[in-house]
């Protein structure tokens, strides 16, 4: 296995620069994951930092045979799902105090489109693992890549995506977009 640690020893200044460059290049993954798994702006910032920190901690074990985006999606989704589980317990106690503020999208009105609002609502209504699957699909990942990120078979990806698309189509029809 060719890992960053094997090449550079423990992460030093060179690794930091490389990590920053890779994170910059794949910033969209960070944003998409936080948008799909956290609803308020403070939660998104918190989750974003948590994902980035875990990425850095795991960076010495990054196997370069795997595309960085695949590796990053794995870490991001693992951290995001665990974050949601923790938030579920927290919300049980503080929901009444906090309310649920939907955060605006930094693209400035991009998510104001009715279609995207519907898509966001659809994603929010899915289980955490199905949400990850749909996120990867929307991001244009191939079935074999989705299977690699999630650790399920390609046929399972196809079956699940088929069901999710069917469900989304029904929701689109009922909302007559």
């Amino acid at each position: 296995m060719r890992t960053v640690a094997a090449e550079e020893g423990s992460p030093g200044a060179g690794a930091q620069e490389r990590f920053s460059a890779l994170l910059e290049e794949h910033a969209g993954i960070l944003h998409k994951t936080t948008r799909a798994y956290a609803r308020s702006e403070p939660d998104r910032q918190d989750l974003s930092q948590e994902i980035a920190a875990q990425l850095w901690r795991s960076f010495p074990r990054y196997d370069e045979r795997l595309p960085f985006s695949t590796w990053m999606y794995r870490v991001a989704l693992n951290v995001a799902i665990s974050f949601v589980r923790r938030q579920t317990v927290r919300r049980r106690h503080f929901a009444e105090l906090e309310g649920h503020e939907e955060a605006p999208d930094p693209a400035g009105g991009a998510s104001c489109g009715r279609e995207l609002q519907l898509l966001d609502r659809f994603l929010a209504g899915l289980g955490e693992l199905d949400r990850g699957l749909m996120l990867l699909y929307l991001d244009g990942r191939r079935h074999d890549v989705i299977a690699e990120v999630l650790g399920i078979s390609e046929s399972n990806v196809g079956t699940r995506l088929g069901r999710l698309k069917e469900r989304l189509r029904r929701e689109l029809d009922s909302n007559a977009v």
């Binding site: 910059e24 999208d105 279609e115 289980g127 078979s153």
Partner: protein, 226 residues
């Protein structure tokens, strides 16, 4: 509009966003480096703390049993508590081992199933502690008074007092389970107590098992139909 159109809109939005986000990414990387150095590693540290705290009674009770081998009235309650403390220690050690070897870069469904399994184990252990504590408290009283203050609880309070406490523990447990099922979710002022009541009522276990089942089902491809 069909799904492919939606997907195109989604990807178009991402293209716009990536320009905005490049500037943020540098900041995110810097903050990641800071946070990675300062933050704890979450649940693994909580379990490690549990592990250390569970080791203390194991050592103390082991020493107490050794000192009271010829006094079964003290040795047997202490040995009973020691065995339970060792079981607890082993349960925490298993959880810690599962979490320490957890690789966040692993396939999502596998890692989430593992985390869900740890959660089920944690909730089960918490539930057993809550069930056993009221029943064992009379034994703890006997051993604790003798060990810390040299007081013989049998002579000081009498066997009837101790038997009454065991009985009280049973009644208390029954009442606590009833209260937790009926009113547990209404207690909004104290999150810690509310979680313990949910543990006692079995709600947290049901929820943890549901998540573990969902993760297993996701991997097996037999999840709910659309």
């Amino acid at each position: 509009m069909d799904l492919e159109d939606l997907r195109r809109i989604w990807q178009e939005q991402d293209r716009k966003l990536s320009e905005i986000l490049r500037a943020d990414a540098h900041r995110a990387a810097e903050s990641a480096l800071r946070r990675a150095e300062t933050s704890s590693r979450g649940i693994a540290w909580t379990v490690l703390l549990d592990l250390v705290l569970a080791a203390i009674p194991v050592i103390w009770l082991g020493s107490f049993v050794a000192d009271h081998l010829g006094q079964p009235a003290f040795g047997i309650p202490a040995a009973t508590l020691d065995v339970l403390a060792i079981v607890l220690l082993a349960a925490y050690a298993r959880q810690y081992a599962m979490l320490r070897t957890l690789d966040w870069t692993g396939p999502v469904a596998t890692i989430q199933q593992r985390l869900a399994d740890v959660r089920v184990r944690r909730v089960r252990v918490a539930r057993w502690i809550l069930f056993l504590a009221p029943l064992l408290w009379a034994l703890m009283l006997v051993v604790g008074l003798k060990g810390f203050f040299g007081i013989d609880a049998y002579a000081g309070f009498g066997l009837r007092f101790i038997a009454a406490n065991v009985l009280f523990g049973l009644v208390f447990l029954g009442a606590a389970v009833w209260v937790s099922r009926r009113y547990g979710d209404r207690l909004r002022t104290n999150p810690f107590l509310r979680e313990r009541l949910r543990d006692l009522a079995g709600r947290n276990l049901t929820e943890a098992e549901r998540l573990a089942d969902a993760a297993a089902s996701f991997r097996r491809d037999d999840g709910p139909r659309a």
